[in-house]
């Protein structure tokens, strides 16, 4: 092998090495927690580092933790899934409707301007969405939206009040909608327009309305739409700052209504890593590594499905 080839091949192994290192380090770090907490990790929502000022005691399998320590991921897992699911269930219809409208009912130059403006949602840093969520969205939700939903929808158990704060599931899901939208809409609109250029004239000539043309094309690109949804879901699952700032930071209490504070896996790692510094047994850090490992597996699975169906990758809202 010539020296230039050796150089290129060696350096280009780095991404793989790092990916492997991330996985190995998280597993290695999570091992004490996996044994100490066992299956209870997935069935318990209690997160308690124990009495960290006392001497660590030996737990199951001889792994040390502070007295009384118990770690469960259920609340964070539920929060991640519910906020992402709520966001995605709003994003999908919005994406489909805007794609059809921009492709069929708006002059092409204007559609280009609007779709690239919508891409600007991806340019706003996640922490700025958090700031907007905290200082604009949450007060607005508490003042205008929640009083209405409490009375109008209060007969549904999860909509019953009283809402005491704007932060929680609704606020987090709302900011996630804006952050996921650039991913799904750029893929769907792009694919839609590609099919449209070949199919619009033949379908219209059969006497279909524009909306019917749109539905036919959407049915043809179902695979890309579902794939784009999974890519968007992966983004929502892993989002940290915007959700951390708007979720209400629930701990040790499962949400009982859409107004309840909640917490997600990514937000929990961000907010609880400080508390790992003061746990001399290291079990808190290990448990957080297990949370990170779970988050990694879930979001990689979601984006792998999306990649398989669309052939694309989404990175912080930029679709490649």
């Amino acid at each position: 092998m010539k020296s230039d080839e050796l150089l290129v091949k060696t350096v280009s192994l780095i991404p793989f090495v790092f990916l492997a290192a991330i996985f190995v380090f998280l597993v290695y770090q999570a091992v004490p927690s996996i044994f100490y907490n066992g299956l209870r990790f997935f069935t318990s929502y209690v997160w308690n580092p124990g009495m960290t000022f006392e001497q660590p005691v030996k737990g199951p399998f001889g792994f040390e933790a502070s007295p009384g320590a118990t770690f469960g991921v259920l609340l964070f897992l539920f929060g991640t899934l519910i906020t992402s699911a709520l966001a995605i269930s709003l994003v999908v219809p919005v994406t489909l409707l805007t794609s059809v409208a921009l492709a069929l009912y708006v002059p092409r130059p204007m559609a280009k301007v609007i779709s690239s403006s919508l891409q600007l949602f991806a340019a706003v840093p996640s922490v700025v969405y958090g700031l907007w969520g905290v200082s604009f969205l949450e007060p607005a939700l508490l003042k205008y939206v929640f009083p209405w939903s409490e009375t109008a929808l209060g007969f549904i158990p999860w909509f019953r009040g009283p809402a005491t704060s704007g932060s929680g599931i609704v606020a987090s899901a709302s900011v996630l909608v804006l952050m996921v939208l650039p991913i799904t809409s750029s893929i769907v609109l792009d694919t839609f327009m590609t099919y449209q250029s070949r199919l619009q004239a033949p379908i219209l000539s059969l006497g279909a309305t524009k909306a019917e043309t749109g539905f036919v094309i959407l049915r043809l690109i179902k695979r890309q739409v579902i794939g784009a949804t999974f890519l968007g879901l992966a983004r929502a699952l892993g989002e940290t700052m915007a959700v951390l700032m708007t979720c209400g930071g629930a701990i040790n209490s499962m949400p009982s209504s859409i107004y309840s504070p909640v917490n997600t896996m990514a937000a929990a790692i961000a907010s609880l890593l400080d508390s790992a510094f003061i746990d001399p047994s290291g079990m808190t850090l290990s448990a957080l590594a297990e949370v990170g490992l779970l988050l990694m597996v879930i979001s990689l699975a979601s984006s792998a499905i999306g990649k398989a169906m669309t052939g694309r990758v989404a990175l912080r809202g930029e679709v490649l």
């Binding site: 350096v11 409707l97 340019a123 700025v128 059969l206 909306a211």
Partner: protein, 281 residues
């Protein structure tokens, strides 16, 4: 087509049209609402002194955070551009098909990792095991993991966009693969690589979660790559809005506005270079 009366079909068409246009308009409004709210909020408590003095999220200014953001993102860009361009060369010029598919999987997976997972890894490995502490080096290495897939992908596209005739002509003149790569491919791919790098820089500048536990915070300037913490703009937003004082909020809004302004400027320059490159090609 299902058998429906013409009236119903046109009604459905009208509803789709109205709903689609209304939602598109609502989204544009939401975008204006987010950007407008941040910029107006920044305008309220802003004073130009914030841009030229250092501060600690409760008092002073943003200069240390602005410098820190550029240092972190810039150094991360240097790391990821170096590796990313080599990865792109490995994929396009030096690739065996088996190593290539392995590299693609690794890059796609890195791109899909949540930033907090990367942040946790950076903390465990760079900060703790490699004893870098909260520092410029630990922060920028962690950031570069996120920026790397972007650079690798855009460099790959840029290199494969160079017409085949160019490299074939160089090979016909007796150039070696390395000469063709450096003097033909990279030279013609440069505009697109630079525009991809600017995009990656804008993404890095807006990142927070990876830096919370790798870069730390510094009310002044970092003194060296390791052993000295570094402040950054997104931290000011996150910490400032959580503090009760009016001035902290003003700093958080100002930092947000500076961030968005920087990112939009980087995106605009990136687009401009891309379009200019497309015109020249």
């Amino acid at each position: 087509m299902k058998d429906r009366s013409a009236g119903r079909r046109y009604l459905l068409d009208g509803i789709t049209r109205f709903a689609g246009l209304a939602i598109s308009a609502a989204l544009l409004l939401a975008l204006l609402l987010v950007l407008g709210y941040v910029f107006l909020g920044a305008g309220v408590g802003f004073n130009p002194g914030m841009l030229i003095s250092t501060g600690n999220t409760t008092s002073g200014g943003l200069l240390n955070a602005i410098v820190g953001t550029w240092l972190l993102a810039g150094l991360a860009l240097a790391f990821s551009a170096f590796v990313g361009i080599f990865v792109a060369l490995g994929l396009t010029q030096y690739g065996g098909s088996r190593t290539s598919s392995l590299q693609r999987v690794a890059i796609d997976a890195l791109a899909a990792l949540p930033s907090m997972v990367l942040g946790l890894f950076g903390y465990l490995v760079f900060v703790i095991y490699l004893r870098m502490g909260f520092s410029l080096l630990a922060g920028s290495l962690t950031l570069s993991l996120m920026m790397l897939p972007y650079l690798a992908k855009s460099a790959e596209t840029a290199i494969s966009n160079v017409p085949k005739e160019f490299s074939e002509a160089a090979y016909a003149l007796g150039a070696s693969r390395w000469q063709v790569t450096t003097r033909v491919l990279l030279r013609f791919a440069k505009p697109l690589i630079i525009s991809g790098a600017l995009l990656a820089l804008s993404i890095g500048a807006g990142e927070t979660a990876q830096l919370l536990y790798t870069a730390g915070w510094n009310p002044g300037f970092p003194t060296w790559f390791v052993g000295s913490q570094v402040g950054y703009l997104t931290y000011v937003v996150w910490a400032g809005i959580n503090q009760p004082s009016e001035y902290s909020h003003a700093l958080a809004f100002a930092a947000s506005a500076v961030l968005i302004g920087t990112i939009l400027a980087l995106l605009a320059v990136s687009k401009w270079i891309e379009n200019k490159g497309a015109k020249n090609a």
